[in-house]
Symmetry: C2
Subunit: 124 residues, 2 copies
């Protein structure tokens, strides 16, 4: 096999990491998949995130086609529900494999309390 030049633009891994690599994006995808799917719910479950950044990350996931917004019309204060798209669900499957990799390979780097959680059905 001979190698020509390489271009970061066409690298699949970079495409993948661009999709997933906002600080809060993997967590948001996980939450949305588990019905923590409204702005205020996410604010409750993710401390240390600001409204602005939450909005940005959600908009990013949306414009990459991983989630979609369902804005319920004629509701009291505005109600928006986020859902995974098909693409988002497929990505989540891949994400689950990475988590499995992390659990088996990276286990010694995980704090003890986290291990208990990981041994249950819970995985961030």
């Amino acid at each position: 096999m001979s190698f020509s030049h390489f271009d970061a633009e066409h690298c699949f891994i970079n495409k993948f990491t661009t999709l997933i690599a906002g600080k809060w994006k993997p967590i948001l995808l996980y939450l949305i998949q588990n019905d923590i799917n409204r702005f205020s719910l996410m604010m409750e479950h993710v401390p240390n995130i600001s409204r602005k950044v939450l909005t940005e990350q959600l908009r990013g996931l949306e414009s990459d086609g991983l989630i979609y917004r369902d804005e319920l019309k004629s509701k009291a204060p505005k109600v928006v529900i986020y859902h995974l798209t098909e693409k988002g669900e497929k990505l989540r499957q891949l994400v689950d494999e990475i988590i499995r990799w992390g659990m088996t390979y990276d286990k010694e780097e995980v704090p003890d309390e986290m291990k208990k959680i990981l041994d249950s059905d819970f995985a961030q």
Copy 2:
């Protein structure tokens, strides 16, 4: 299942993307695995990368335990050979799954010339 608060520090996906998400890191891992394993070889095969950034990315991969430096002593001009560690090889396997995901799911976003390459045994 009930949800408590979420912390980006303990997110496996973030750990993974931190390992892999330098602009050139996936490409460098791929090259090293395929014996393009010296500084000057990498400079040849990755146009648009500077010495400084190549050094930084390699140092990052090294300090994350994905590659190691083998500096051949008493050589004419300095010779350094990079190798994947065991951890690096395991990571590459995961990376291959992501590439497979990219090839099947993301195919329509790939330029034609790239498809030919991807259909062969070549994958960045």
